[in-house]
């Protein structure tokens, strides 16, 4: 490690300078009690897991809570972790199970579709988009409506299609990874995605 590239404090530095170390190997270090290895995995995956949960959960507070729960479960399961699958497959399986159970538990609740994009969310103090000063009020309203429509149409997809779309479109996972998380064949995953995108194209055509 060169002194010129001193890592940020709290970041698991040996791994960052050695690209050959896989996350599965890092998870095996967590298993042996290496807490800095766990810290590294949290730093690496906090944004993707939070964004995954924002799109799966009904409100912002639940999304962040579920994302925290993912990391707690990773930590709790460290002793039983086996590097048989890719770390991300295992991670997204945990996240998927949590998100699906949450969706089933709260399916009678009204989804937070009326959330304001400009005013901070009451629970988290966040806004649902980066304020864009280049838009006038009317454009902002149009944009908000489009975003709400997209969200509603994705939410209305059957569970497996919705999971596949969110992993594919927003988590940039390929067919193989998604099929492993969903425990489906690759061809079944392909047709799942194709059908989902066809439905979305049909339902969102007024916005294109």
């Amino acid at each position: 490690m060169g002194a010129s590239s001193s890592p940020a404090p709290g970041v698991f530095s040996p791994m960052l300078t050695d690209g050959s170390v896989s996350d599965a190997e890092i998870m095996l270090r967590v298993k042996t009690g290496d807490q800095s290895a766990f810290e590294y995995l949290v730093q690496k995956y906090r944004r993707p897991i939070v964004s995954f949960m924002y799109r799966m959960a009904r409100n912002a507070a639940a999304a962040e809570d579920l994302a925290q729960e993912v990391f707690l479960r990773v930590y709790r399961s460290r002793e039983s972790y086996e590097a048989t699958a890719k770390f991300t497959t295992w991670l997204y399986r945990i996240a998927t199970n949590l998100a699906v159970n949450h969706a089933r538990d709260t399916r009678h609740e009204r989804p937070e579709v009326q959330v304001s994009l400009d005013e901070p969310d009451e629970d988290t103090g966040t806004t649902l988009e980066v304020p864009d000063s280049s838009l006038n009020a009317e454009q902002a309203i149009v944009r908000r409506e489009r975003m709400m429509a997209i969200r509603q149409k994705v939410e209305a997809l059957p569970e497996q299609q919705r999971l596949a779309v969110i992993m594919h479109k927003y988590q940039q996972m390929d067919y193989k990874q998604i099929s492993e998380v969903l425990k489906k064949s690759e061809s079944a995953t392909k047709s799942l995605l194709f059908r989902a995108y066809e439905t979305l194209r049909e339902q969102l055509k007024e916005f294109v």
């Binding site: 925290q68 975003m147 997209i150 779309v165 061809s187």
Partner: protein, 160 residues
């Protein structure tokens, strides 16, 4: 290349996860039906890009760290292992086992008479005896709970 093969690949290519191969590109250039479908899918992908979500809030990291600290402070092994690993509890168990052995030998009428204090115990196996055992065990468990709590407190202070 068949239309079906290309359509299987379309979501990955339209989402930018994968580059179209030469064969796929030439099919798209010659097949109007596939080309239209591909264009529509690209438009859908572009529309889906508009659904943005915020960054994790500052509250997220604070809360996660607190929950993790709580999790890390928890003793790892099961309760049985913990009991035997604690010297205080091991000593306590030795004493308890000792008393148990003493009780066992006190059951004979001879020893029973010579130890009036223990004579107040009902015969083991009788209903009263069972209740007494349950009662004693309750105290025992209560004490272990107390020790566990102390144990946890020590862990918390040891891992701030």
């Amino acid at each position: 290349m068949k239309c079906e093969q290309l359509r299987e690949r379309m979501p990955d290519v339209a989402a930018g996860l994968s580059e179209a191969t030469a064969a796929e590109s030439s099919h798209l250039a010659s097949c109007i039906s596939c080309a239209e479908q591909f264009k529509a899918m690209q438009e859908t992908m572009a529309l889906l890009d508009e659904w943005q979500v915020p960054e994790p809030s500052p509250y997220f990291d604070v809360r996660l760290q607190a929950r993790l600290r709580e999790e890390m402070a928890k003793p790892q092994a099961g309760w049985a292992m913990r009991w035997f690993r604690q010297p205080v509890i091991a000593a306590a168990l030795t004493v308890i086992i000792g008393i148990g052995v003493g009780l066992f030998f006190s059951q004979g009428p001879r020893i029973h008479n010579s130890q009036p204090m223990l004579a107040q115990n009902a015969d083991p196996g009788s209903a009263v005896g069972d209740l007494q055992t349950l009662d004693n065990n309750h105290d025992l468990y209560a004490n272990f709970d107390l020790l566990d709590d102390m144990d946890l407190q020590q862990d918390v202070t040891a891992n701030p």
